[in-house]
Amino acid sequence: MKFIIAIIKPFKLDEVRDALSALGVAGMTVTEVKGFGRQKGQTEIYRGAEYTTNMLPKVKIELAVSDAMAAQVVETIQQSASTAAIGDGKIFVLDLASATRIRTGETGDTAL
């Protein structure tokens, strides 16, 4: 099993979700996050007081998938989240040691 973490632009979330659903991904966890990479921040001015924010809002998607699906999921996220501009985000893939469905106690791929 693989654990996939993707940091994407917030407005791309629905597209990514639809594309993954079409692929048969049954669930994911989404968090609003802030961070920085190569994309530069924004400057805000309030009555002359200037604040530069170099942390930009992003959305973090976390999902666990079977080994067989992992490559396809990563490719789908990459394609659906891309705008081809700086700040599109990153996808990380980790090995996942175990998964348990709380309701039934099922483990492994069947728990996903």
Binding site: E44, I45, Y46, R47, G48, A49, Y51, T53
Partner: protein, 448 residues
């Protein structure tokens, strides 16, 4: 335009002048004044409009500019000092500002005596004179109208000291400040025996009494109190410009009670004040944003709101003392200068006037008070008579402004140090970091 207040029983013909003493003071009318129901209804409406400026207008305007963790403390402080002012006003404030004259010629220029404490002698039949000969409004209505002015002025001062001043210190400061600063200055400007009134200073709705007074006091209080922890280093962006925008709208609408109500009658003078309160404000809102654009920035929402307030402040003394064209120029000028005050002056001197009470009310008030000496001219569409001399009027205006600045500075310093001795001024650094909402009031503004 002489405002006379005839005491119900005595009909002493005491003059409470507001705008101009350019004309000789007329003798008190011998006949009993007429109370017009239309005037009375308008003045009661105006009184409530000014209350709306405080709650929720100023509370939201200021609250939105503060950080999330201090929203409730700002709203609570604004509301609480306003309530305090109302009680003190009835106790002795009205008497000190608009009561009977002291026999001492020197003393009566600064305050009136305490005979009307707890509104002694005021009944439903007592009247207060308006600007028209023989026309009066019920004294209770006049007392209430002026009460809201005292309440909003002390609340305005708090704009510079929020996010760090103790609630208890705010209350002590408020009580003393009203007593030694607001009531005397209100008397000096608006009472017939008052110093500025006798000098012939023009102040239609309180440019000196309310705005210069509050703005300068705010600066002095902020200087004594010191900066907020992290000022200039941490982000202190307004937590909700939406709230500030709503507050701005409520203030603008309420300001018609403030300015047009200061005519004391529902008549053409009130109509002129209303007109000017529209156009000076509109010009100022746009002028502030234009100034931002010229300075190389984006025309901002906060800039728009700040311009609106700067325009309202500047037109306050000029409301019934200017033609619409003069008001437009005055409003636009005030916006440009206030913009420079809050963006450049504040940075240069490094004082932490948290919500720019001095930059907008103090500076805008000075522009308005001095500018009134110009726009009053009939050449600019103002109501001045033929024998009016601008240079003389300007001298009087400047003298009134300078005196108010000195009075407010000294009085505020005294009030703040008394509060410091009694309660201590600042919350602990832990409370300041965590926010005054939790530290001083035990609540959060937003529980998502």
């Amino acid at each position: 335009m002489i405002r006379k207040m005839l005491c119900g029983a005595g009909a002493l013909g005491m003059s409470l002048a507001v705008s101009t003493a350019a004309f000789a003071q007329e003798a008190a009318a011998a006949a009993a004044p007429t109370v017009d129901k239309g005037d009375t209804a308008w003045m009661m409406t105006s009184t409530l409009l000014v209350l709306m400026m405080i709650m929720p207008g100023l509370a939201l305007f200021y609250g939105g500019l503060a950080r999330t963790k201090n929203m409730l403390s700002v709203m609570t402080q604004v509301g609480a000092v306003a309530c305090l002012a109302m009680l003190i006003w009835v106790a002795y404030g009205y008497s000190m500002s608009f009561g009977n004259d002291f026999s001492s010629d020197f003393l009566k220029q600064f305050i009136s005596n305490f005979d009307k404490s707890f509104l002694k002698g005021v009944t439903a039949d007592s009247t207060a004179a308006t600007f028209s000969e023989g026309v009066a409004i019920p004294e209770y209505v006049f007392v209430c109208f002026q009460m809201t002015f005292a309440a909003i002025t002390v609340a305005l001062v708090l704009g510079s000291v929020v996010e760090r001043m103790k609630f208890s210190a705010v209350m002590v400061f408020g009580a003393i400040w009203l007593t030694i600063v607001y009531f005397p200055v209100a008397h000096m400007v608006w009472a017939g025996s008052g110093l500025f009134f006798k000098m012939g200073a023009l102040d239609f709705a309180g440019g000196t009494v309310v705005h210069i007074n509050a703005g300068v006091s705010a600066l002095v209080a902020a200087l004594i109190l010191g900066k907020r922890i992290g000022y200039g280093k941490e982000i202190m962006a307004p937590h909700s410009l939406t709230m500030t925008g709503i507050g701005t709208g409520l203030l603008w609408v309420g300001w018609f009670g403030f300015n047009a109500g200061s005519a004391l009658e529902a008549n053409g003078s009130a109509g002129l004040a209303m007109m000017n309160t529209f156009v000076a404000t509109a010009a100022a809102g746009l002028a502030w944003m234009a100034t931002e654009k010229v300075a190389g920035h984006k025309p901002s929402a906060l800039g728009f709101c700040s311009g609106i307030i700067a325009g309202l402040v500047a037109v306050t003394p000029a409301a019934g003392n200017s033609g619409p064209l003069g008001a437009i120029v005055l409003g636009a000028l005030a916006a440009v200068i206030c913009y420079l005050a809050v963006t450049k002056l504040k940075g240069k001197f490094g004082y932490d006037d948290a919500l720019d009470a001095f930059g907008v009310h103090g500076i805008g008030g000075m522009i308005g008070a001095i500018g009134t000496g110009v726009v009053y001219s009939s050449a600019l569409g103002g109501p001045a008579g033929a024998d009016w001399v601008m240079a003389d009027q300007l001298k009087t205006q400047v003298l009134a402004v300078v005196t108010t600045i000195v009075w407010a500075t000294v009085g505020t310093a005294v009030s703040i140090y008394v509060a410091k001795a009694l309660t201590g001024l600042r919350v602990s650094p832990e409370v300041e970091r965590e926010g005054l909402d939790l530290g001083e009031h035990g609540e959060r503004a937003y529980n998502y």
